[in-house]
């Protein structure tokens, strides 16, 4: 969530309406942001928040479709927030720490979301390691 700090970008400040439109913000209260949405502004956001690391060559974020709007509004969605409490933290060595909310009776949809999230998380880490290794060998 810290990567898309709406306060840091100025989106939530007074007068941030225009900036939110430019970023394709999907948080409520903006009306029809697609009307003046500028997809390239999304790339600027990544750069300003340190996610697209083409400049310093450390991480390349998984591509986000700019048409979906700013990722900041996605991580603040009710769905993402409600799922967050079921996530399992990583321990040293990569193992997942048990979450007491995950039991054999846990809803199948939550388990499906958890498997999906963890697979994506591990895939992202794999891409990160691969890029690090390519950079250090190159």
């Amino acid at each position: 969530m810290a990567y898309f700090d709406c306060e840091l970008t100025g989106c939530l400040l007074e007068g941030g309406h225009r900036l939110r439109t430019r970023m394709g913000c999907r948080l409520p209260g903006l009306g029809h942001p697609r009307a003046r949405f500028e997809p390239h502004a999304h790339g600027d956001l990544h750069a300003s928040q340190g996610l697209t690391i083409i400049k310093n060559g450390v991480i390349k974020a998984a591509p986000e479709d700019p048409e979906d709007g700013c990722p900041g509004s996605w991580v603040r969605s009710r769905f993402a927030k409600s799922f967050a409490r079921y996530q399992r933290a990583r321990a040293e060595g990569g193992m997942r720490v048990q979450n007491p909310l995950i039991t054999p009776d846990t809803d199948d949809l939550i388990l499906e979301a958890l498997r999906y999230f963890e697979r994506e998380h591990e895939g992202g880490e794999g891409r990160y390691r691969q890029q690090r290794s390519e950079q250090s060998s190159g």
Partner: protein
């Protein structure tokens, strides 16, 4: 095509109120729908309550739904207690859901193959009846309330008791909604 940000909660109680229930504030829905489309039908299809009834928000009654510049929730459109009752859904277990999905796919395939895009009515009713048995946990209020035994399907007698109050169409409507409530993660929930 851009994905829609999911605004429902993953663990919200899934509730359903029939489209025909008098508890829906139809005056407000129709007035808003008139501004959303050229015809009333087009406007209704674009209205958030319509999307909610279609299961887009997994029947989370508090989900924020966009309407113009603001957001609304399905619960704001209810006036009083539902006359038919409040259906409480449970997630259909993964194995049964897989079987239902296979039946659904078969029905669609047959309809397409026959060239007449209509689904077989008898097969559809039987499908919805089974989805109702597996996916409804409780009916609160209304003329025929019931609660399914824990971990077991709703007894046929309880479903049949609903027929005088909504007929086959109610069972089809609620059964299909219960099936949709148990759908797999959507593209927008996965952001993919």
């Amino acid at each position: 095509m851009a994905l829609k940000r999911p605004t429902h909660s993953i663990d919200a109680e899934m509730v359903y109120i029939s489209r025909k229930d008098k508890a829906w504030n139809s005056d407000r829905i129709e007035a808003e729908a008139a501004e959303l489309g050229n015809t009333l039908e087009a406007g209704l299809k674009a209205h958030p309550v319509w999307h909610w009834l279609d299961g887009e928000y997994r029947f989370d009654i508090s989900a924020e739904m966009p309407l113009g510049d603001s957001t609304v929730a399905a619960e704001e459109y209810l006036e009083g207690e539902p006359s038919i009752g409040l259906f409480i859904f449970r997630r259909i277990p993964i194995k049964e859901r897989g079987r239902l999905q296979a039946r659904w796919d078969r029905m669609i395939r047959r309809a397409n193959e026959s060239g007449d895009t209509q689904i077989d009515e008898v097969e559809f009713f039987s499908f919805c009846y089974d989805a109702f048995r597996l996916g409804v946990a409780k009916l609160e209020g209304g003329p025929a309330p019931f609660e399914a035994p824990p971990g077991r399907a709703v007894p046929d007698s309880k479903i049949d008791a609903l027929e005088p109050h909504g007929g086959e169409s109610l069972i089809k409507e609620v059964g299909y909604a219960a099936f949709v409530a148990s759908k797999k993660l959507t593209e927008s929930e996965k952001k993919r």
